[in-house]
């Protein structure tokens, strides 16, 4: 059996890119927050590195009787699953960790692991507020998982493939999915916010639970948890680029540059969107997801199916 060539250089390079991306998101988040507060200053620039250094110097205090393996496993898993998902993200046909023939299923499966991480973060410290937060994320997953999967399948339809690279290739041969499936794009971006529990979906680090999973976290594990959340948000929004925005397509610059620019723009927009959107109530959102969002994502699937059957040119045929 052929395991394919191993790309030794890709993982460390991807890690560096993720670190840079997280730094970008931390700054965008800080800027958006300070704009909302109406106090942009030098501290907007200094805030993120200061927070990082602060967490590194702060003590990590155990609780009385934690399940330490799960508790510390949570942020580690969050980062690990993010990196694993990024394997199938193509910046260009050549700049890709590895192209899997089922890449789309693979990264959805990796996103699903977030559920495990969030549950662990809630269960680990044996403290009441985090526990509730962990359970609420499971509820959120029950709402977003199906729309996410169906929308991603709708994207794979014109490409006749579950490989992320061929989805990009099909778009470059025909039209961007953002044009042919605007409804799918909106649903995907909603889910891209929900998977890393950002903004309106912040049920895990929620203020009404005094910080939820963050209540008992301090020091380096807290830094890692925040880092993992940013990295996951970066990844979920990064996949919007090959799935909807034609990957590296664009004039003048080479494909990887275009991919990176698009990723930074999409992820930055999503981070900023998290401010000022307020919060969705979980019980209402779950109802809404099943009664409205799932039928809508199925409608999207039907529409695109109908369109490419009537007019194969849409799929580049």
């Amino acid at each position: 059996m052929n395991y394919g060539p191993v790309n030794w250089l890709a993982p460390p390079l991807a890690l560096v890119l993720v670190i840079l991306g997280v730094a970008w998101l931390a700054w965008v988040n800080r800027l958006a927050g300070d704009l909302a507060r109406g106090r942009v200053s030098l501290e907007t620039l200094m805030g993120p590195p200061r927070d990082m250094l602060r967490d590194l110097h702060k003590e990590f205090r155990l609780t009385e009787r934690p399940d330490l393996a799960l508790w510390l496993g949570a942020p580690l898993l969050l980062l690990t699953l993010t990196m694993a998902a990024l394997t199938v993200l193509p910046l260009s046909p050549d700049w890709v960790g590895a192209d899997s023939s089922v890449g789309v299923v693979f990264f959805t499966a990796m996103f699903a692991l977030t559920l495990v991480a969030a549950y662990w973060a809630g269960w680990g410290p044996n403290s009441k507020y985090p526990l509730i937060a962990g359970y609420r994320f499971v509820g959120l997953m029950l709402a977003y998982e199906m729309p996410l999967a169906i929308t991603v399948i709708a994207v794979a339809l014109p490409a006749e493939s579950l490989s992320v690279s061929s989805i990009v290739a099909t778009q470059q041969a025909a039209y961007w999915n953002a044009l042919t499936q605007p409804l799918g794009l909106v649903i995907y971006l909603l889910c891209a916010l929900a998977v890393p529990f950002w903004g309106p979906f912040n049920v895990v680090n929620a203020p009404e639970l005094a910080g939820g999973a963050l209540v008992e976290l301090s020091g380096a594990p807290k830094l890692l948890w925040r880092f993992g959340q940013y990295a996951l948000l970066l990844t979920t929004s990064a996949f919007a680029v090959p799935l909807f925005f034609g990957g590296g397509a664009g004039p003048w610059w080479p494909a990887p540059v275009w991919s990176l620019v698009k990723i930074l723009l999409v992820s930055g927009a999503l981070v900023a969107l998290g401010h000022g959107l307020g919060r969705l109530r979980l019980d209402r959102f779950m109802w809404w997801a099943w009664v409205v969002l799932i039928p809508l994502s199925l409608l999207n699937l039907f529409l695109i199916g109908l369109l490419i059957l009537i007019w194969p040119g849409l799929a580049g045929k």
């Binding site: 059996m1 799960l70 023939s101 089922v102 693979f106 997953m141 579950l162």
Partner: protein, 188 residues
């Protein structure tokens, strides 16, 4: 070839050890996630069978299902975190004997049988092959699955939902217990 065997042994051991851990750890959370680990290892074994799709889809489904299972495990077990050590094994000797005998029988079957060797090469794209099968020969199975799932949905809702169109199920039942004389069909 040797690489393949190493991967197989590692994954098989991982699946077995985490399966064993399910019964060794006290915490329901740890037990369920050990089970998840076991299933994920089995999912990775699919890769050795050159079935990437089955690997990925098993991986995806198992995560959701095991986390839902952990909700029920913790809700319905006493001492869910295993703060007091407990023994989850009943009749350990019989179980061990039965397990060893079954293993020996199955293992000897594997060794004794003269397995046929397939001449056909695996299809270039397994996923597409599955798709053609679903829309071709196995269409009836596929659509039957849909009806079965629908039956399942209706059945679980009829049994589990506290409220239906006719109001609060528990309330209704209580009224009936009092001889209230209401007849609400499916709520008995």
């Amino acid at each position: 070839m040797s690489m393949e065997i190493v991967v197989f042994v590692v994954l098989a051991l991982a699946a077995m050890v985490s399966g064993w851990l399910v019964f060794r750890v006290d915490s329901m959370a740890r037990a369920t996630f050990s089970l998840l680990g076991s299933f994920l290892a089995v999912a990775c074994l699919m890769l050795l069978l050159a079935s990437e799709f089955l690997f990925a889809i098993t991986f995806l489904m198992m995560i959701g299902e095991m986390v839902i299972m952990v909700l029920y495990m913790i809700a319905f077990m006493m001492n869910p975190a295993g703060l007091n050590p407990m023994n989850m094994v009943h009749q350990p000797r019989w179980a061990a004997a039965a397990g060893i005998v079954t293993f020996l029988v199955l293992a000897s079957v594997i060794l004794v049988t003269d397995w046929p060797v397939s001449e056909a090469n695996p299809p270039a794209d397994v996923t597409a092959a599955i798709g053609h099968e679903l829309l071709g020969g196995s269409m009836l199975i596929f659509e039957t699955a849909g009806v079965t799932l629908l039956t399942g949905m209706i059945a679980v809702m009829a049994m589990a939902a506290r409220r239906g169109r006719f109001g609060d199920a528990i309330q209704v039942q209580r009224e009936d217990d009092d001889g209230g004389g209401h007849d609400h069909g499916g709520h008995h």
